[in-house]
C-alpha cells in the first residue's frame, strides 16, 4: 500500500452547548460570523467550498 495516498477515513467531532439567554439560544452557534468559522477551519487546515442551510441548521462542504 503506497504510503502517500489520500486518507479517506475521517475524524469526527461533535460538541454540544447550552446557554441561558433565550434569544441567543434560538440561533446560538448559527450567529457565529463566517470569519470566525473560517478561523476555526484554518486551525484544522480546511476551507469552505460550498454551503446550504435551512431554518434548522447550516451545512458546509469543506476541502483540505
Amino acid at each position: 500500500m503506497a504510503e502517500s495516498g489520500f486518507e479517506g477515513f475521517e475524524k469526527r467531532l461533535e460538541l454540544h452547548f447550552f446557554g441561558d439567554d433565550p434569544v441567543i439560544h434560538d440561533m446560538g452557534l448559527r450567529l457565529l460570523d463566517f470569519d470566525s468559522l473560517q478561523e476555526v477551519l484554518d486551525a484544522v487546515q480546511c476551507t469552505v467550498v460550498s454551503a446550504v442551510g435551512n431554518q434548522y441548521f447550516d451545512a458546509y462542504v469543506l476541502s483540505e
Binding site: E7, F9, K11, F17, G19, L41, A59, Y60
Partner: protein, 280 residues
C-alpha cells in the same frame, strides 16, 4: 469534509491530514462569546489507512485523548475513551466522549425522541462505480456543476429524495455532499483512487422513524458504492436501530463479521459492526 452548525450543536468531520481537534478550543471560546457553554463532546474515527502521515495530535488515539483531555473544561468530568476492535486489524472504531452532569444519558421510556447517528465507512469500492467520481478532463465544469453531475450519475440523489443536496466534485477526483432534510443531515465523502478507495456515509435519524427507512437507506448506499468492506457505527440511547443494520446489509451480499457495543455516559450505546463480501 463537512461542517454542520446547529444553534447549540456543531459537528465537524474532516479527512486527509487535517488537524480536526485543533478546532476544539476556538469553538469553545467563540461559543462562550455568544453566551454558550460546552456540555458534551464526542470524537470518533475509524482506523487511518496512512497513520504515519497524520500530524499531531492525530499521531495516535492515545495522543488525541491526551489532547482532548487538556482542551476540555473540567466540568466535562464524565469521560470515556475506547477502541472498539473488529476481526479485521484494518477496522477498529475509536470513541472518546466527555460530558457534564446534565448530559449523562438516562434512557427513559418516555423520552420524546431518541435520535441516532449512523457513521458508515466503506473501502475497496467497486472500481467501475468508483470511476464515476473522477472528473472528465476539460469537462468545462466547476466543482459545483461537476458535483451535481456526479450526484445524478451515481444515484446518490435517490438515497434521500426529500433532501436538499449541496454537492462538490474535486479535481481530478473525489466527491463530497451534504443533504439537509428538516433538522437532519446526511453526508457522503468519496476517495475513489484504486488501492485506497474509500467512501463514507453518515446520517442522523430517530428510533421512531419507519423501520424500513434505515433498511432502504443502507441498501441504496451499498448499491452506489458496492464496497468489499464496510463498517457501520450506530450511536443511540437505545438498541432499536443497530439490530436492523445486519438485516438490511446481509441480503446485499455483505456478511456481518463482527459486532461489538459499548456504553458511553453521554452518547449512550455505540455499536460497531463490520461487514465483508460474502464468499460464494
Amino acid at each position: 469534509s463537512s461542517l454542520f452548525v446547529y444553534p447549540t450543536k456543531i459537528i465537524i468531520k474532516t479527512c486527509g491530514t487535517t488537524q480536526l481537534l485543533k478546532s476544539v478550543r476556538p469553538l469553545i471560546n467563540y461559543a462562550h462569546d455568544l453566551g454558550l457553554t460546552i456540555c458534551s463532546c464526542r470524537y470518533t474515527r475509524g482506523n487511518f489507512i496512512f497513520p504515519k502521515s497524520q500530524p499531531f495530535p492525530h499521531t495516535s488515539f492515545k495522543e488525541e485523548v491526551i489532547y482532548l483531555e487538556d482542551k476540555l473544561p473540567i466540568t466535562l468530568c464524565y469521560r470515556k475513551a475506547t477502541v472498539m476492535p473488529s476481526k479485521m486489524t484494518s477496522h477498529a472504531w475509536h470513541v472518546f466522549t466527555a460530558c457534564d452532569q446534565t448530559q449523562v444519558v438516562t434512557p427513559l421510556p418516555n423520552m420524546p425522541d431518541i435520535a441516532f447517528t449512523m457513521e458508515i465507512c466503506m473501502t475497496d469500492l467497486d472500481r467501475v462505480l468508483a470511476r464515476k467520481f473522477f472528473r472528465r478532463p476539460n469537462d468545462g465544469k466547476n466543482g459545483d456543476t461537476a458535483g451535481k453531475e456526479m450526484t445524478d450519475l451515481t444515484g446518490i440523489g435517490d438515497i434521500n429524495p426529500g433532501a436538499i443536496i449541496c454537492d462538490f466534485a474535486f479535481d481530478p477526483c473525489g466527491y463530497s455532499m451534504n443533504g439537509i432534510d428538516g433538522d437532519r443531515y446526511s453526508t457522503i465523502h468519496v476517495t475513489p483512487e484504486d488501492g485506497y478507495s474509500y467512501a463514507s456515509y453518515e446520517c442522523v435519524g430517530s428510533v421512531y422513524d419507519d423501520q424500513d427507512d434505515v433498511v432502504q437507506m443502507l441498501k441504496k448506499v451499498v448499491q452506489v458504492f458496492r464496497p468489499a468492506t464496510m463498517s457501520v457505527s450506530t450511536t443511540c440511547a437505545s438498541h432499536e436501530v443497530w439490530t436492523r443494520v445486519a438485516h438490511a446489509i446481509e441480503p446485499l451480499g455483505l456478511k456481518c463479521r463482527s459486532c461489538i457495543m459499548d456504553e458511553f455516559p453521554s452518547a449512550g450505546t455505540v455499536v460497531f459492526q463490520t461487514f465483508t463480501v460474502a464468499r460464494r
